[in-house]
Symmetry: C3
Subunit: 443 residues, 3 copies
Amino acid sequence: MLSRENNELLTRVGPGTPMGNLMRQYWVPALLSTELPRPDSDPVRVLLLGERLIAFRDTAGKVGLLPHNCPHRGASLFFGRNEEHGLRCVYHGWKFDVSGRCVDMPNEPPESNFKDKVRARAYPCVEAAGIVWAYMGPRSEPPPMPGFEWLGAPDEEQDVSAAQVECNWLQTLEGDVDTSHFGFLHVGHAKPEDAPEDSFLQYVIEDRAPRYKVLDTDFGVMYGAYRPIRSHADSLYWRIAHFMFPFYTMVGVGVLGDKVSVAARVPMDDTHTLVMLSRLKRNYTSSKADGLGITQRTFDGRRFLPTTADWYGRFREEPGLRNDFFIDRELQRSGASYTGIDGVPVEDRAVTESMGPILDRTVEHLGSADTMVIRVRRRLMAAVRALDEKGVVPPGVDHPLVYQQRSGGVVLPKDADWVEATEHLRRAGVDHADLNPSTAGGG
Amino acid sequence: MLSRENNELLTRVGPGTPMGNLMRQYWVPALLSTELPRPDSDPVRVLLLGERLIAFRDTAGKVGLLPHNCPHRGASLFFGRNEEHGLRCVYHGWKFDVSGRCVDMPNEPPESNFKDKVRARAYPCVEAAGIVWAYMGPRSEPPPMPGFEWLGAPDEEQDVSAAQVECNWLQTLEGDVDTSHFGFLHVGHAKPEDAPEDSFLQYVIEDRAPRYKVLDTDFGVMYGAYRPIRSHADSLYWRIAHFMFPFYTMVGVGVLGDKVSVAARVPMDDTHTLVMLSRLKRNYTSSKADGLGITQRTFDGRRFLPTTADWYGRFREEPGLRNDFFIDRELQRSGASYTGIDGVPVEDRAVTESMGPILDRTVEHLGSADTMVIRVRRRLMAAVRALDEKGVVPPGVDHPLVYQQRSGGVVLPKDADWVEATEHLRRAGVDHADLNPSTAGGG
Amino acid sequence: MLSRENNELLTRVGPGTPMGNLMRQYWVPALLSTELPRPDSDPVRVLLLGERLIAFRDTAGKVGLLPHNCPHRGASLFFGRNEEHGLRCVYHGWKFDVSGRCVDMPNEPPESNFKDKVRARAYPCVEAAGIVWAYMGPRSEPPPMPGFEWLGAPDEEQDVSAAQVECNWLQTLEGDVDTSHFGFLHVGHAKPEDAPEDSFLQYVIEDRAPRYKVLDTDFGVMYGAYRPIRSHADSLYWRIAHFMFPFYTMVGVGVLGDKVSVAARVPMDDTHTLVMLSRLKRNYTSSKADGLGITQRTFDGRRFLPTTADWYGRFREEPGLRNDFFIDRELQRSGASYTGIDGVPVEDRAVTESMGPILDRTVEHLGSADTMVIRVRRRLMAAVRALDEKGVVPPGVDHPLVYQQRSGGVVLPKDADWVEATEHLRRAGVDHADLNPSTAGGG
């Protein structure tokens, strides 16, 4: 439970807000590279941290990210001409390059030097792993990019996707670090014998009330959620997962050491979030959970609405609050699905968006299963306050290597120290091909 | 005319408002029983006095009314599983019974007693006359149910219907106690010879400017609106009708002593009202007004929109402000209809909703025909203030028998005392089969 | 660039605002006469300066403009019966004539004199040049009508049209006095050889960076924008145009002395504007700009949406922000159009509406080409403050003849005094049939 003030502190991200300032310390995933498919392709509207921006790819292939309104008289650069190394406002022909410099001002007399006095506040952009990253912060020299291992992987290994969630970023992130919901929202209808023999999924279904360990780290917070295994009385099944500043998660699904996957929960504004999911393709082909209907299909077969002419028109999925996520009450009643809602990510959105645009955290009741949620909030609040009050640079901004992490599930002896015993598996950049394939089931 | 402050006082009904507190002293009609057709049927969204609630019928047939957001982390219980005597949140499997007790918390370890510390604020519900009634007030033991005579009638006699009006509750209620509008809005186009000979309707058309008597009562306010009768110079036609705390009306249509009918104008929130109309079937089969096109058909042939996935999706009618109530200007011009709008209740909604979401009562001009409107407001304000300032329990809460009333029309000798002369006809529970059928026309 | 306070001062027009008060000093174009096609035709919703009004034409053909809500209990007079010299509210039959007098109150007893105490605040209306003009100001005797020359022209000469712009009035007006945008937004794709030989349009395309002269006048502000002509080294091409209090413009398109055309940018409310364009038919048939695709067709072939049942339902065009004005990116890229948007007025709306409902003028960068925009704002602010602080009647209110002006283009010797040399051409009411037809091209 939070005070109203702390809930505001954590959820508001616009310019000038404390949390908005914290996020602006980091490089921020802004859009997919594929949204700007070619040099001089069409400009794209981007709503990011409450700011209305126009992204474009110039003739040389470089990406620019400018304020939506032309610095001259405020016409939208969305309607601009993207031509010869710059975006030209159609109102008076002013043209800006990706750095925000005004490179042409043809409605002013040739002798005018007004052009040199005008500058659009362009946000520096870099592309990596199929994502356009922007730096919206105060430094003249941006900090290093986060050191995620997948940023260096070859293009054909990359799998990046985006989806809009119609609520505040924090409640979407809290769903990621809330491991116990998996046993209900997604597989609450299943019995142990439905799962592959001796799979993580089977362990989850055998015991849906995991215990938690949480640990502050240099990248954020790590948790280990553990439970007994019926068939191995001397072992425990651990799900190890991370919150990483400012809005990343590595979830506990899959096999620790093998899986490379990160979700960025990027605020579009206070009530809309763009979730970007980056995975390396080699990691998620081993699911044995097909029998439960939570196969990869549930991630890949998603239905998106056409992009619309407004600030919320990108990556909106068809199932939504507006149609009760197409809930099938008979299916829910039948026991073949816990929710009657089709697809794991859609189930996640259903509960998350149903909380309201910004969850009221003053009336919650958090239990032991919410240990990680609580710790993440505390860590965020502490970092926001340290920046706001003392100018302390938040975790990871200047230390890209802290992001070199992996998450996932592992079986450990009952008396093992979970942190020590998993140290080498959590290390990024290592090939763990020798992992026991029998534990590689989804879940 | 009211001050801005008094208009706010009368119209705002959310938690913590003075009028909201007054209404929460009473049992409140919340939804129709048919909205929860079977044990373990689908949960239903209910917006009531500005609160977002989920109604469900449990395995034993009992109705629960819980806050929309799960007490745990706020996911909507609308998506919950209604199973085995409780509604289970699909996020983490927490389950609540109709009393709000958390009866299962399967994501917490078995030794946890957190379950016993969590409680949803359930509102006690009872069902009567096809309506689910809720008590949302502060007493641990709710007051008695209102003593309406139809609450005790057999099911096959009950006729209850619901319709949403898209504006504040008070302006919908004021329409009910505004007898003079009948002669214009509904039958303004008619001539005396159009009506059945010697019917109430004929009297209304003969004299459209009734005089008013109003009287404070123990249930609220009663009025008698009277007018001369051309063919009976020594008699007066009286329409006797009631406002009953906090939002009920018994209108003056029909025959006093014979008719049993009550309208509840229940606020969904400040700008939406659910009108529930309860009638006993025996009462309204004698209309002679067919010639005027205001037959029962106009009440029964209503067109509703499909229920939608939001808080305003129930019992919304198709004709609305969004389509000008399908006004037919040629019909209006022709004289065959005063309004060009089809249906008495639709005409009522047209004028009422056209006032705006909350009528601005600071710029009205009330005449003698508004005597009852004025008195009802005064009575409401006095009760709201008495409760707010001195904790005075408002009228009727602890005295259910005050609701044992009837309303309707009657012909009295010119010199009769209207209150005394109608005392036995206004008494509930009496069979008045000997009433003169010749005066039983609609109007 | 403006302070936030000044931007508010200039853009807010509701009752009681300083700019709203200024506009209410003048006669205001409220609707087209054709919207009330016959005596006793259907009432029409009119949103004007933030006020919700109902317009009707009575049996004698006179136009009334009443508050939307009946003075009695607030039902909308939109649903009223327009009959026998008055508009009758269908709720209780109260009837008002065009002067706001209550001429019938049939639900009150005949002896009541309440009728004489009730009055609707009707705004005086006159019709001229196909427009219904209203006076919404404080004087009991309205000021004279503005002395535009076309107000006196015969009906068959009049050409008046209306279109809604979905943003604040001031940014729509600023587009009119911003001559340099023509060379980009509308003809930025064209080369000099595309234009008719020796036409104004050719001069515009030859030099897209005009210089400005501005001059305060008794009607508002006049500008002269000039540029050299390649083929006539000793001459300059001047575009002369006007801002006229409080929201009129005469633009610089066409031939000075020949053209009679005025645009009124009338605020519906703070974020919607009704543009009424009045022209005399003889003036705009000589366009030679067909080769550029900016023919008269682009003005006449506009697509409007059906009128809807709300306050914004009149004269809304189909292309809009909601569909990106049907921008054709391939056409824009091809060079056949600067914008890819079809139609000069649609291009204007695209940039103007894309600025947002109310342009934030605190972050602009105004250059020498914005000299007129700056001057108009200053003039407006000075007049608003003079009225607000000292009660000074604003320009033109009591001096109708100041509106006797013409605007347009002209070729002058390089050393000519532009004001003096054009004096006779700017004078209204003169027949300049002897003008050189070779310079009559569009632009």
